[in-house]
């Protein structure tokens, strides 16, 4: 019936939020009449007015700071950073303020804001347009970090993020913006913000990932199935807090784990997942935990980008390794 792409699902959720709650406003560069460079806000300014779907001057620090101030004063701002690579200037407001306002005022003020940003590589974009430093955000206490990997999850998780009483960074895997379609009911139903999803069930090995890598993971899962290896595929969804229970339960069952992400290896979020298992599930482990992630390099310009992005093939290789380990 209502087969949507991921970016359409984002738009649907934004429209729903604007419709349902007069406190919701959107702000960001080119989100108004232009509808956002990825069209995530297409038509929303026309429908809800330029005051509620507001083009900002080109100033990421201020976008974040304005969201903090507006949230503290009763609005529900949903700010867009045009590409994750331009989010660094917003970090000061995110880490030093948004994430702390409730804590430092003992609950007197709070910061119910969402910061959306398209992230990740694989679409041969110019430099600084393919960043994926979700682990840095997940390290900030007081922030929630959410990453959808399908249209329906984008819709439900974004609604949850907007309704959440605390600040949420919502990272959208732009490689998936238009590459998958899924039925999305505009029922206003939010998904839980702190639950991982098991996308396929298997007893042999656990594969944890998020965002665009879910597609590579799915492909790897299918290929492994032909070899008779059944994979518990976990889509993290919430990168902070992490649904550790779901992962631990899976590994308790499978005894093997591969983590996949497109951010560089060192201090990537895969480390947290592996570390958690090394602390809490060591005796369940039948094989080393393999992380499939690029080496610690800057994501190359498009012509060599494929040398960087992890592939289903690499995941298959890693799964075979942990399966063969003894």
């Amino acid at each position: 019936m209502n087969e949507l792409t991921l970016v359409e699902a984002v738009r649907l959720a934004l429209a729903r939020a604007l419709e349902d709650d007069p406190r919701v406003i959107l702000l960001g560069e080119d989100i108004g009449v232009n509808g956002g460079v990825f069209r995530a806000t297409d038509g929303l300014a026309a429908r809800f007015g330029a005051d509620r779907v507001r083009d900002t001057p080109l100033a990421e620090t201020a976008i974040a700071g304005i969201a903090v101030g507006a949230a503290a004063h009763g609005l529900r701002p949903v700010a867009e950073i045009q590409f994750m690579g331009f989010l660094y200037p917003a970090l000061d407001q995110l880490a030093n303020h948004a994430a702390r306002l409730r804590n430092r005022t003992r609950g007197r003020l709070s910061c119910p804001m969402v910061l959306r940003a398209p992230f990740g590589g694989g679409i041969h974009a110019p430099e600084h347009h393919s960043e994926s430093f979700e682990a840095m955000l997940a390290h900030v206490p007081g922030l929630r970090v959410v990453v959808p990997s399908s249209p329906a999850r984008a819709y439900g998780l974004l609604l949850a993020a907007i309704r959440d009483p605390d600040p949420v960074v919502f990272l959208e895997p732009k490689r998936l913006y238009r590459s998958v379609r899924e039925e999305v009911a505009d029922d206003g139903a939010a998904l839980p913000l702190d639950r991982a999803l098991i996308l396929s069930a298997g007893d042999d090995v656990t594969l944890v990932t998020w965002g665009a890598m879910v597609q590579e993971a799915r492909e790897a899962v299918e290929r492994m199935a032909t070899e008779g290896v059944l994979v518990d595929l976990i889509d993290l969804c919430s990168l902070k807090p992490i649904d550790r229970a779901t992962i631990r339960r899976s590994v308790a069952k499978t005894g093997r784990c591969v983590v996949l992400h497109e951010a560089p290896l060192t201090a990537g979020l895969g480390a947290e997942i592996a570390a958690d298992l090394a602390e809490h599930c060591l005796t369940d482990l039948l094989a080393p935990i393999r992380r499939v992630a690029p080496p610690d390099v800057v994501i190359p310009y498009p012509r060599l980008e494929d040398q960087y992005m992890p592939t289903a093939g690499q995941v298959v290789g890693a799964i075979r390794e942990v399966m063969e380990f003894s």
């Binding site: 406003i25 005051d51 900002t56 001057p57 100033a59 620090t61 201020a62 974040a64 700071g65 304005i66 969201a67 903090v68 101030g69 507006a70 949230a71 503290a72 004063h73 009763g74 609005l75 701002p77 000061d92 407001q93 030093n96 303020h97 409730r102 804590n103 430092r104 005022t105 003992r106 609950g107 007197r108 003020l109 709070s110 206490p141 007081g142 009483p165 605390d166 702190d194 807090p241 992490i242 550790r244 229970a245």
Partner: protein, 350 residues
Amino acid sequence: MARFDFGPVRVLDQAGNVETTLPGFARDREALARHYRAMVLTRQFDTKAVALQRTGRLGTFASSLGQEAVSVGVASAMRDQDVFLPSFREHGGQLWRGVTLKELFLFWGGDERGNDFSGHRMDFPACIPVATQFPQAAGVALAMQAQGTGGVAVPVGGDGATSKGDFYEAMNIAGAWALPVVFVISNNQWAISVPLAAQTRAVAISDKAMAAGIPGGRVDGNDVIAVRAMMERALERARSGGGATLIEAVTYRLGDHTTADDSKRYRNEAEVSAHWKAEPLVRLRAHLVQEHGWTKEEEETLQRSCREDVETAAEAYLATGLQPPRAIIDHLFESVPEDLAQRFGEAGYE
């Protein structure tokens, strides 16, 4: 160089004589006395806070010695629906807006409860990362504009803060969107050890308003009457949809930057002594004496009453027990996520 004309630059001279027409509120003895008391109370608070710090009973503290008129004048011009976003040196304004002395002590003593204050509940706590309050103020103003409350956001920062990009980004957007914000710069001429001349080549900080296409006004920050008067005009302008204004209040930091600072390392005593002549309390007192027959007894009573308030508050602060350990996780989110609660237990932080 052109400068926006934005109302009286100075009302009282250093001796307390009226230089220009007195604004309405400043003809009222009671009103003036209230401002005077607020400044005296601020100074007493500052003195006590430094003393507590020196004896190990308070954290690093930033005194507002010499700058009381800016803080009090700004706050006294504000209304209930307005929102104050102070830097870490605006004790006078915070007190005027209803934050209690005890809460201030708690904040500076290192207790978050000092920010859960009894004052205007929508006001922001003191801002430590310099200039970050400016974009927040634009956000508050955006909310007020959307809500139609008629409120104005009033962020205050120092001269040093005008070197940060945050300040310009916020002013520029507030200009573009005609937001109800009055940006206040309390120009005390030093940013720790860096004098204003090393901070910028701009002729006046108020000129920086031109970068945003908004009016900029410059006022004698040691004249509480002038500060309030200029603030009132800027607030009125914002309230009536006229948009943002930048106000530079020129004052001087008579003390060290904080209790962790030793300003003798970088500025000479002569400069400081010279500025003592212009300090704001003496000036308003002289005016009160000359124009309103302010008596020695009134002065003594006021001083004593302020001192008592400060002492009582200090004692109450010192008697305040610690928050329970769990307080470090309880307020991070509206409800504590499972992961956090569990780790809090595991990590032996109980």
